[in-house]
């Protein structure tokens, strides 16, 4: 099929669902032959360019019960149909979940953010998904629902490779929940793209908890440096129990750069990504530490 983005040439059967039960029934019935349409900013682009075909398309964006953003005993529960724009404008996220806020702020243009959903950004399975590193450092959990039941999967185990996730063909992502982070916690997100709003050449998120003058919890996650967004536990371990200093930050960033094995693609070379990972991580660590109220 010749690529023509003026039209959507691909043909499919369309189903619009208004309740979760309808979606789960349809997913079971179509047995792997259906794709979920939410915001459409990734899916329709792929379908237009011929990168993706589907027999059935299930539209789920209008399911009200999957569109909520609530704080429950300090656990933040986000429905998958919440738009990136709603996340960006949410006061609590802006105040307490800096990494997620900064990630969403760095993404795409306003119109795209009005359309695109958090669930879509995750289920699309891109190694460069900007919302993934923040959710990794927060230790977020994803709720996957099917007619067979519900399972909870840590974000860390969700991604399998480019465009691949653990989501079974009859499952739908139904909630993203971020656990209580506690006091004196700071997080940050940084990305490097060619221009603002670009797909990341590399992105990084950091979440630090400070107890006294020492780091008591630290998570570091990179995107665009492996087939999936990843954590670097060895680098995280170097910080725990230590007082943060410029020297330590430099050492941790160097160690992290040696741990990642990015690929060379049209957006960057492997060498470049390894080099700049140090710079973005150093900066992210500083900014997260400052947000815990710590001093350098």
């Amino acid at each position: 099929m010749k690529t023509d983005t003026k039209i959507l040439a691909s043909e499919f059967e369309y189903l619009e669902c208004h309740t979760l039960e309808e979606v789960l029934d349809a997913l079971t019935r179509y047995n792997g032959k259906a794709k979920i349409l939410a915001g459409g900013t990734d899916l329709l682009t792929k379908m237009k360019t011929g990168a993706l075909h589907t027999e059935y398309l299930i539209f789920v964006k209008k399911i009200e019960s999957l569109n909520y953003l609530i704080s429950d005993n300090n656990t933040l529960r986000i429905g998958p149909m919440v738009s990136l724009r709603e996340i960006e404008q949410h006061e609590q996220i802006k105040a307490s979940y800096s990494a997620l806020f900064e990630a969403v702020r760095s993404m795409a243009a306003t119109s795209v953010k009005n359309m695109a959903t958090l669930g879509g950004n995750l289920c699309n399975g891109s190694p460069a998904a900007d919302t993934a590193p923040p959710l990794l450092v927060y230790g977020a959990t994803l709720k996957l629902t099917s007619s067979r039941g519900v399972r909870l999967v840590p974000v860390e185990e969700f991604f399998l490779g480019p465009s691949k996730t653990v989501l079974a063909s009859d499952e739908l992502l139904t909630e993203i929940s971020i656990p209580d982070l506690g006091e004196n916690v700071g997080s940050s997100f940084l990305k490097l793209g060619r221009v603002a709003a670009d797909i990341a050449k590399i992105n990084v998120a950091v979440c630090i908890k400070r107890t006294g003058q020492a780091v008591s919890y630290c998570r570091i996650a990179f995107g665009s440096v492996a087939p999936t967004p990843i954590r670097v536990p060895e680098a995280e371990a170097m910080l725990v129990g230590k007082e943060l200093s410029n020297e330590l930050i430099t050492n941790v960033a160097q160690a992290a750069a040696n741990l990642i094995k990015p690929i060379t693609d049209k957006r960057s070379t492997s060498h470049y990504r390894q080099q700049v990972s140090k710079v973005v991580l150093e900066e992210a660590l500083r900014s997260a530490w400052q947000r815990t109220g710590g001093e350098l």
Binding site: T5, A9, F12, E13, Y14, E16, T45, L57, S111, M115
Partner: protein, 157 residues
């Protein structure tokens, strides 16, 4: 593919249309409703030429299936003002020479209008940030930003 009947409000008028599931909102607006304001630019959500307001929020008509907007409200540039009665922002674009070839203008105006509704007194940085998804190949950004800024000031008084 079987056509479906959808009902939506376009520029304040209720319209009933018969569309195929893979018909893009942009093509339905242009071909079925003869609303030529929204343009096909890139087709992949990079340029903003196809911007419309969907329930008051900016959205890209080239990445929306028409069947999915059943019951919703669409505003295109034709709903913003016309030759007889220009919208104040349209007048500001004219006053500041913010229209060159005109291809990006409908998108720029709708995005500018959405911004001013959300934030009546945006700074230049905020305007540029909001416009970053709308490309002007004539590179007329300075005038476009000035025109929007002038309306922001007007609201300040």
């Amino acid at each position: 593919m079987e056509k479906r009947l959808i009902k939506l409000t376009v520029n304040g008028r209720i319209r009933e249309l018969s569309v195929k599931p893979n018909d893009l909102l942009l093509n339905v607006l242009r071909n079925d409703l003869q609303l030529m304001g929204a343009k096909y630019g890139c087709g992949i959500g990079e340029c903003g030429a196809c911007t419309v307001l969907l329930d008051g929020q900016t959205a890209l008509a080239c990445l929306i299936l028409a069947v999915t907007v059943e019951g919703q409200e669409i505003t295109t540039i034709e709903g913003m003002g016309d030759h007889v009665q220009l919208h104040p922002l349209q007048q500001a674009f004219l006053d500041h020479g913010a229209v060159q070839c005109g291809f990006c203008t409908p998108g720029m105006l709708l995005v500018g209008e959405a911004l001013l509704k959300e934030n009546p007194c945006p700074s230049e940085d905020e305007i540029r940030e909001y416009l970053r998804g709308n490309l002007c190949r004539c590179t007329g950004y300075a005038a476009i930003v000035k025109a929007i800024k002038s309306e922001a000031k007007a609201l300040e008084i």
